[in-house]
């Protein structure tokens, strides 16, 4: 009999076919989340609030109680849900357009109240599902369908750094930026997600993990090229690290 050394984690539907594009880091992030929940014995006790955009495809993927949020409102919904259901492990799953543009007020306000849930923020610097428009996190000079001549600081402003912004608030308990673009970093990311969930389980308050992610489809790159782009370009704008661990 052969030993099983690798399998799809529990918490992801058996036989589910992901809707994420080939090479998209969302798949890895979903896997990390499920592995950590499994390890913490929380898979059966988790409820996630789903943002709108590519992150919403997770609904066909996560075998967990799900509350779908209108565009950008995940942090508002997670706030009330967690307060009414404090025994449940609650996290939001959101992209950059959802969390940092249309949901900026909800994100900052939930963080400022120190709501005891976890945000998993997948930042690929673009609106993926709608076809590649500029996001708050799009790099300067980057061409998108709504910045056909490149993002211009004078016209569009500079990229927003959510970890750094949140780090200006007093309340958040845990803030980290990670990536799953390579194996060593994926391991660190896993540790960060685990820490964030543990903070919540210990009632420490708002925890936030940003994944610097990719979008091969809308960046017009192969999956491997997109990972190189993350390493060589994106991470210079969005440095990894633990910003706060109360």
């Amino acid at each position: 009999m052969m030993e099983k050394v690798y399998s799809r984690p529990a918490g992801i539907f058996e036989g589910a076919v992901t809707g994420f594009c080939p090479g998209c880091m969302h798949s890895s992030v979903c896997k990390i989340i499920c592995e950590v929940l499994d390890e913490l014995g929380q898979l059966d006790n988790a409820c996630y609030v789903q943002g709108v955009g590519c992150c919403g495809l997770a609904v066909t993927y996560f075998d967990m109680d799900t509350v779908a949020a209108p565009h950008g409102r995940a942090c508002a919904i997670a706030s009330s849900f967690k307060r009414c259901s404090p025994e449940t492990l609650v996290f939001t799953y959101q992209g950059d357009g959802d969390l940092a543009a249309i949901g900026l007020a909800e994100t900052m306000s939930a963080a400022n109240r120190g709501e005891n849930f976890t945000v998993i923020f997948v930042n690929n610097g673009i609106y993926g599902m709608t076809g590649g428009q500029m996001a708050p996190t799009t790099l300067l000079g980057a061409k998108t369908t709504t910045t056909p001549f490149g993002r211009d600081e004078r016209e569009h402003g500079a990229p927003m750094h959510m970890c750094e912004l949140l780090n200006q608030l007093d309340a958040p308990a845990y803030i980290a930026r990670v990536t799953a673009a390579d194996v060593p970093n994926a391991k660190k990311a896993r540790a960060a997600v685990k820490k964030a969930f543990q903070y919540q389980l210990e009632g420490k308050g708002f925890s936030f993990v940003e994944f610097v992610s990719n979008c091969p489809t809308n960046w017009g790159m192969s999956p491997l090229e997109s990972l190189d782009h993350v390493h060589n370009v994106i991470l210079k704008e969005f440095p990894l690290g633990e910003f706060r661990a109360k």
């Binding site: 799900t66 509350v67 009330s80």
Partner: protein, 359 residues
């Protein structure tokens, strides 16, 4: 008989909500309903409930959605332009089948309007409180006792159908004071039992075979959007027989029928007696729910024999009168008595309109 308590409308609604087992409220400051969030802020800690002042109208209505997803009786309130902002979440509640009570203490409009009382959100409340063509049960009290009774009823109906329900009030019924008798509060055990009965609510799988998804059509893999729309259409249709509610006052021998809802309904009701004292045989049809609209109340009138109908509301142009006209369909004259700009409709305007039909 419960004790008569002299209460402000906003506070009577909030206290009744707590007694009906509401354990979550989120709101945002907007005149003339600030007494609602302020009351919940004081009251919720006493019943282990949750009050959150949202960062916006949008956030507070979404918070109410989140609490409902957790199975808690949940409420939000606002006024007119604030309700427009809440319409995003209201539509999602309808789509995701989440029971939430929404109170609208109407003020002027369009846009910011005046902060004075109005009834200018009728069409929004009854026809389109958000995208997607959903309908809501809309209750509109004429006085504070009805506001109390309808608040209780709204929570029952929201849970019964697992849909958002609207209390359509106005700045007047929110800020005025009147004696009310409050219902006995549900016990903590009863409140817990209501929550426990919502087996569809999210709380983690806990060994359950099927995870629960709170979402609208399109995201739900178990049911197509068309199937869901059809199911809702059937529900809305059934409301036309099960949920119609109105007051028929002295229409038996009436030659003139007054019709109005909410605060204007009570003013019209008092006009009936004054007209009868003048020798004009007046009656009143007062919808207590404005959705579903009580078509039957008008259908059973001897429309062809009436001198006419006076449709009164605090909205210019008229909105409620459109529904009256749709049912009456030219079978008798309809004149309107309208006000706007923050003035409560003067009873004299209703009386004059009725007298004009006698000529």
């Amino acid at each position: 008989m419960a004790e008569k308590i002299f209460m402000k409308g906003c506070e009577a609604v909030a206290e009744t909500a707590v007694r009906a087992g509401c354990r979550f409220f989120a709101g945002y400051p907007i005149t003339p309903q600030n007494d609602v969030p302020e009351y919940f802020a004081r009251r919720m800690p006493e019943v282990n409930g949750v009050f959150i002042q949202g960062e916006s109208e949008v956030a507070s209505s979404n918070m109410a959605y989140g609490a409902a997803a957790a199975g808690v009786r949940s409420m939000t309130s606002s006024s007119s332009c604030g309700i427009s902002l809440k319409s995003e979440a209201i539509s999602w509640m309808a789509g995701a089948n989440l029971p939430v009570v929404i109170a609208n203490f109407q003020r002027g409009g369009p846009g910011i309007g005046t902060i004075q009382p109005a009834q200018q959100d009728y069409l929004q409340a009854t026809h389109a409180s958000g995208n997607g063509g959903f309908r809501m049960l809309v209750l509109s009290p004429m006085n504070l006792q009805e506001a109390v009774d309808m608040t209780w009823q709204a929570f029952e109906l929201a849970d019964k159908y697992s849909k958002p329900v609207m209390l359509l009030m106005d700045g007047f019924t929110g800020t005025m004071m009147e004696p009310v008798e409050l219902p006995e509060p549900l016990s903590e055990e009863e409140v817990a039992a209501i929550r426990a009965s919502k087996t569809w609510a999210a709380r983690g799988k806990h060994g359950g075979p099927q995870h629960k998804v709170m979402c609208g059509p399109g995201l739900d893999t178990r049911i197509s959007q068309e199937q869901m729309n059809e199911r809702d259409a059937e529900l809305y249709e059934s409301w036309k027989t099960t949920e119609v509610e109105y007051e028929d006052y002295m229409t038996g021998d009436a030659e003139i029928v007054l019709t109005a809802y909410g605060i204007t309904g009570r003013i019209a009701k008092s006009a009936v007696k004054l007209l009868r004292a003048e020798g004009i045989r007046a009656g009143l049809i007062r919808p207590k729910k404005v959705y579903p609209f009580p078509d039957a109340a008008y259908e059973k009138l001897p429309l062809e024999k009436l001198r006419g109908i006076v449709s009164a509301e605090m909205s210019i142009p008229a909105q409620f009168a459109e529904d009256v006209e749709r049912v009456v369909h030219g079978r008798t004259r309809i004149v309107t008595a309208l006000s706007s700009g923050g003035e409560v409709l003067d009873r004299a305007a209703i009386l004059d309109a009725a007298r004009s039909l006698m000529k």
